[in-house]
Assembly symmetry: C2
Homo-oligomer: 555 residues x 2
Amino acid sequence: MTTSTLDQPLSFQTSPDQYRHWKLTFDGDIATLAMNVDPEGGLREGYELKLNSYDLGVDIELADAINRLRFEHPEVRCLVLTGNLDRVFCAGANIVMLRSSSHAFKVNFCKYTNETRLGIEDAAENSGLRTLAALNGTASGGGYELALACERILLVDDRNSAVSFPEVPLLGVLPGTGGLTRITDKRKIRRDRCDVFSSIAEGIKGKRAVEWDLVDGTGPLSKWDEMVSTEARRMADEQPARGDQGVAFPPIEVECSEAEDGSPIRRYRYVTLAFHDSDRTCELTIEAPDACAQSADEALAQGAEWWVMQAFREFDDALLHLRMNHRDNALVLVRAKGSEATVRTTDALLAAKGNWFVNEVQHLVKRTLKRLDLTSRSLFAIADQDTTFVGSFLEIALACDRIYLLNDPEIPVHMGVTAMNAGALPMSNGISRLETRFLGEPERVSQVLAHQDREHFDAETADELGLATYAPDEIDWEDEVRLALEERTSFSPDALTGMEANLRFAGPETMETKIFGRLSAWQNWIFQRPNAVGERGALQCYGTPNRPEFNLERT
Amino acid sequence: MTTSTLDQPLSFQTSPDQYRHWKLTFDGDIATLAMNVDPEGGLREGYELKLNSYDLGVDIELADAINRLRFEHPEVRCLVLTGNLDRVFCAGANIVMLRSSSHAFKVNFCKYTNETRLGIEDAAENSGLRTLAALNGTASGGGYELALACERILLVDDRNSAVSFPEVPLLGVLPGTGGLTRITDKRKIRRDRCDVFSSIAEGIKGKRAVEWDLVDGTGPLSKWDEMVSTEARRMADEQPARGDQGVAFPPIEVECSEAEDGSPIRRYRYVTLAFHDSDRTCELTIEAPDACAQSADEALAQGAEWWVMQAFREFDDALLHLRMNHRDNALVLVRAKGSEATVRTTDALLAAKGNWFVNEVQHLVKRTLKRLDLTSRSLFAIADQDTTFVGSFLEIALACDRIYLLNDPEIPVHMGVTAMNAGALPMSNGISRLETRFLGEPERVSQVLAHQDREHFDAETADELGLATYAPDEIDWEDEVRLALEERTSFSPDALTGMEANLRFAGPETMETKIFGRLSAWQNWIFQRPNAVGERGALQCYGTPNRPEFNLERT
């Protein structure tokens, strides 16, 4: 297997005028996002993105488009996702790209595509952006998985076009971008039909696809455009409008520099990500400014400049950068600083949802925090001098594997709760971080939330409330944190990944946790198996003259 | 890595007089099962079972002991699980055994140990067999996982003894026999404490272990015996007795022969397992006899001879044999035959639970069916001539990945439902197989169950009810089944394992599904990673002069 890395650090920012793979058009309250992948537009050399197959770059544009629809186009009530190629909607993830990628890249690529698809569902649920997949041709593998992320799926009936999961029969891997989970748990298709469907490389088309509920409708080519636009119209009409005037979604700026030892530093306006390459840690700090919008109207007027939107977009970008461009980094020390009053004022606005824009920002904060939960790095919250782990910022601490709290009466450490800790920012498991933390002692959740309308509390109280993992005083602080860092970075990165994936999501399960916890874990396992990625593994052999040769042992 | 296989097929049958690793003693209504592993008693050469570490053989005896307590000793109301070594309760799975085992063996070993521990919890929940782990010394890794399967845990306070999960720090793998899931979801310990606990190789002892809820109590050596017996007495007293007189649990007999092509055949009294080595399939058939007990009393008088107990014990043994001794076998064709009247009469008795013994048998049937759900082989139910997929036998078909139903008016195929299909035999996800199958069409569950008090229905009706994956007539039957077999056995065994693990458990999640779906999947992934099993992986280096060397990339 060739392992290839990217020459340049990946950037997760783009905008419609830079899209190479999608066309976003508008017709009143209906938007159309048409997949039109540039075969030469891969993120790196070595593969051609034929037949609307995709790589990470295609998904970065998709994620951008969904965000823009939510922020720049509140007038849009229905999004039609379709393709611009003849007979093919989308062939899924590019095979040559997959097989020439390292294991770590494959896993992170799949995680990002999963997050993007869940983002489409989040837009439908929380922005009232109805989503219609109009499959103008065959949707295979990741192509059909993308359609599954939409609320409704129409498939053209041209006697050829089908939906399919050819991964198991052709590639020896899984429809792992949520595919298997969505057919069983979202569309709730009978398990034996799921089994048959996932075994038929050529897929299922026409009437049978409707009968098995793989798609919601089908129509002949002659009536296709009309059928799609009627359906989109119907869906849009069901939906109340969110707003008239959108908010621009400008690029976020980052200043890159180097520390004395050469470790990179990324400085955004409210977020800093500073690496310490020597010990494989980094410091991720978010800071609230002194002044902020005092009303939902003022927030809307500020738009993307509203500090909390900007800060969490930066935080999100920092996480993606960390995941993809610094894979050897083991441990993130997370801090939150700045004005408590700003956080409290802002959280109150987010909770009141005074207008569509504030609602969008709340969900952006929620998604960013979920991205943190799902980041496969050890996360230690560091609550030391001048820390402001309050409200939305407290959620960041609660997302961490541990919370180190400096408990010294001389040194101010601000911890506190707001309405944002009471369920407005749920984890993938559907409950709040406090509820997850105190699964065994639910009374503690109310004890913590009782501080909601009060001032911050000090370290001593925070510790009594159960918010600290360790709360050493100043004398022990430095040693304790240092030893913890040394210990953590000495462990097997894989064992930590597995451990964290299991410990972070106690309690209920959702489609989301099933996708990340079960489906992805099996896919990652398969991505390591010689039957997929060995010299004669199915993924390696596909499209070559070689036939796969399997080790037949069942595990 | 050395891959070793067993010279002889493994047997899963044993009895207390053959135990090498446990001592089972009785004192009225309290039983004590003391771990006393014979270091020389490993299942194969190459490792010594020091410090009460275990291999599969130790767990086979444990599973046997739990079954015997349920059937032979209904007078027992509390089981004390303890150790006979000084200062050590149990050191967990034997490391040398693990590292010298093939991947497939490791995975199947872990699955069996998980099933056994869940069996302990099932006994507590459904037989009223209270369980108390009396940790007379350190319980590490799998040793503590075993304790976690008990309702209550006491730990001796001798200043040395601790509970610990040293897997991540020392071995680069997970506490994967349910460990991580049980601390977060059963004991509901705070996630950051779980993180700390799973990082401290030496574990946590004394007061802190109680404070963190890792154990329920601790006491000094001088008062240890008294403390344990007081607690056991208290637990037993809370529990009503089940019965006075047990039912013997004799060995089940199997006759091994060979087919003409040399493929092995195992014939039990009611079950046959016939291999077709040439195409890597096998036929697993269960058959109901013509006559059967007509009342719960009669069933109790027959004891282990009651056909349904015997038949499902045989079925269970066949599954274990298939899993461990025929790992290249890809696809099981499952049939159920025999007297429908017998199945109906028996199911009615099982549903009525007329006495403790009938209740035990019902749970044995339930556990066997769960073992089938969790068997990592493709399962096709074959409903052809003279099939009796009725009631408990219908559950077998519903556990399969597909159901092939011969739909020909000339050929009788009996399908039918009884009370056993209405929730009495839940899957690991906590709901019935019908509810799981029709997750998206719950009204179909009642349509099927409406046939409960009627005669069987024919193939046509079964198909209309949604019980068939394919229902060809006689003309197409042979070709269709043959092609399906050929297709299935051509797929990557690993892709099938992952696909089936995802498709079989739609709907709600439980601790059980989390253990098998999430924790096990991550563990299996780690068991493939060079950081664990490579030449310089942690599992390989442990106990040798070599220090592990990690690939530091996070996935």
